[in-house]
């Protein structure tokens, strides 16, 4: 059962790889990479059950966190051609006051 799931996940990963290599738009590629990452996380979880070593789940946890950062960086690069600009500002006291005065 677990082995069947593992093979299914590997099949899905291969399909994602095909989309990544083909993807006409850059966004298709980003989508494929992100989806590949999610499938890797699941694969690690299932695989660690298959080999009976629970350490794989730790790695899966780490990937679930890291994949997000990579995707955000790539997208930010697309939109702004820069990594250092803010996507969002912490609302400071001044801006809050201004907003209050306006409304």
């Amino acid at each position: 059962m677990i082995f069947a799931t593992t093979l299914m996940l590997m099949g899905a990963m291969t399909l994602m790889l095909a989309r990544l290599l083909r993807g006409p738009e850059l966004y298709d590629r980003v989508l494929a990479v992100n989806s590949f990452g999610t499938k890797t996380v699941l694969f690690l979880c299932v695989f660690s059950f298959l080999i009976g070593r629970p350490d794989g789940v730790d790695i899966a946890l780490l990937y679930a966190l890291m994949n997000f950062i990579g995707t955000i960086a790539i997208l930010k690069f697309f939109r702004y051609r820069a990594l250092d600009v803010a996507l969002s500002r912490m609302p400071s006291r001044n801006t809050r006051k201004k907003a209050g005065a306006k409304s």
């Binding site: 082995f3 593992t6 093979l7 590997m10 990963m13 291969t14 790889l17 990544l20 290599l21 993807g23 850059l26 590629r29 980003v30 990479v33 590949f36 990452g37 890797t40 694969f43 690690l44 695989f47 660690s48 298959l50 080999i51 070593r53 350490d55 794989g56 730790d58 790695i59 946890l61 780490l62 990937y63 966190l65 890291m66 994949n67 997000f68 950062i69 990579g70 955000i72 960086a73 790539i74 930010k76 690069f77 702004y80 051609r81 820069a82 990594l83 250092d84 600009v85 803010a86 996507l87 969002s88 500002r89 912490m90």
Partner: protein, 348 residues
């Protein structure tokens, strides 16, 4: 082979073969593709697949490092490097260079010849399985009382090597600093904003990213510390934890801007931290000298119990590694993002 009876060994062989095939495809694609974005993404995928393969080979700590470095930070740093280079290049003329071709061919043949000398996988007589490795496995638990042998070998038996590695990381950080600057003023001027973009627009459209990142950042840091202090029992340790914590700061910088990140973690602190970590590591060794034993001998750190001294020493050097790795990652990130790109928007 009987199809409906698959022994576990066969199952793992199938999985290994598929993973290696994927690695091969990704590697060939990286060589063939012209699009540099796609190559950065493929490099991420390459690291993902190789981490899976490491898990399959039972090298969980290596997979953990690959996971920490490959998926998040190296993508960000490669993108940062791409920003400083131009995206287009003149197409190279296809010239046949026979001399280089033959050199490559000869090197390849030599490597293939060397492969035949390698011990086969799991060979009980191969060097890592026969001599000093067995000794480590036998002595690790009574000596250090640490269940994860990788941690005790890395930090105690091979303490010199790890000190060297930590110094290499510091040196890498210094090199980046010398080339790209300290992340402060460039030629006496602060960096101009590369693009005049609309702040209000950005804030209105990235609420989801901001909220989710605000939830994620503390969790990432917390997980980093878990990896740091759980390294004695499971995969992980100072190297991985340093990268994880640095990537939390990098995520903060990506969402709230590098200026905000620099206010939270000032470049000065990062620079001091890079050196401080190595100092802590070396200082632990000198503490052993002062207490009347060899350099990096932790047994004497606790006069009452040698294993406890080992634990103390390993803990202390892991903290040194954590500080150095985390700081150097941030030094490199600040270095890349604080440069004014030489290219204009038209070049894209």
């Amino acid at each position: 082979m009987n199809a409906d009876f698959i022994t576990p060994l066969d199952a793992f062989t199938i999985i290994d073969l598929i993973l290696m095939l994927m690695l091969l495809i990704v590697g060939l694609a990286i060589v063939r593709l012209n699009d540099i974005f796609a190559i950065v993404m493929l490099a991420g995928v390459y690291s993902l697949v190789s981490a899976l393969w490491f898990v399959s080979l039972d090298a969980v700590d290596v997979a953990f490092t690959e996971a920490a470095v490959g998926a998040g930070i190296s993508t960000v740093l490669m993108l940062g490097a791409m920003l400083l280079s131009s995206r287009t290049a003149l197409p190279a003329k296809p010239v046949r260079k026979w001399a280089s071709f033959f050199i490559v061919l000869a090197t390849g043949a030599a490597l293939m010849y060397a492969v035949t000398d390698m011990p086969s996988f799991g060979d009980p007589l191969s060097a890592p399985n026969a001599y000093v490795g067995l000794e480590y496995l036998k002595r690790s638990l009574p000596d250090t009382e640490i269940p994860n042998v990788v941690s005790s070998v890395l930090a105690s038996y091979r303490g010199y090597d790890t000190l060297g590695e930590t110094s290499v990381i510091l040196t890498a950080g210094l090199g980046v600093m010398l080339i790209l600057g300290m992340g402060g003023k460039i030629n006496g001027q602060l960096k101009k904003k590369a693009i005049d973009y609309d702040n209000a627009d950005a804030q209105a459209h990235h609420t989801v990213l901001r909220v989710v990142s605000k939830m994620m950042i503390p969790l990432i840091v917390l997980y980093g510390f878990y990896v740091q202090f759980h390294g004695d029992f499971g995969p992980g340790g100072g190297f991985q934890a340093g990268v994880i914590i640095a990537s939390a700061v990098i995520l903060y910088a990506l969402i709230f801007g590098v200026d905000a990140a620099k206010a939270a973690v000032p470049p000065l602190v990062v620079r001091i931290g890079a050196a401080l970590g190595v100092l802590i590591y070396g200082g632990t060794g000198i503490a052993g000298l002062i207490l009347g034993s060899n350099y990096l001998d932790y047994n004497v750190l606790d006069p009452h119990s040698a294993p406890h001294g080992q634990e103390l020493g390993i803990m202390s050097i892991e903290i040194g590694v954590l500080i150095t790795v985390c700081s150097v990652m941030l030094v490199i990130f600040y270095g890349f993002t604080s440069r004014q790109p030489d290219i204009t928007d038209k070049d894209w």
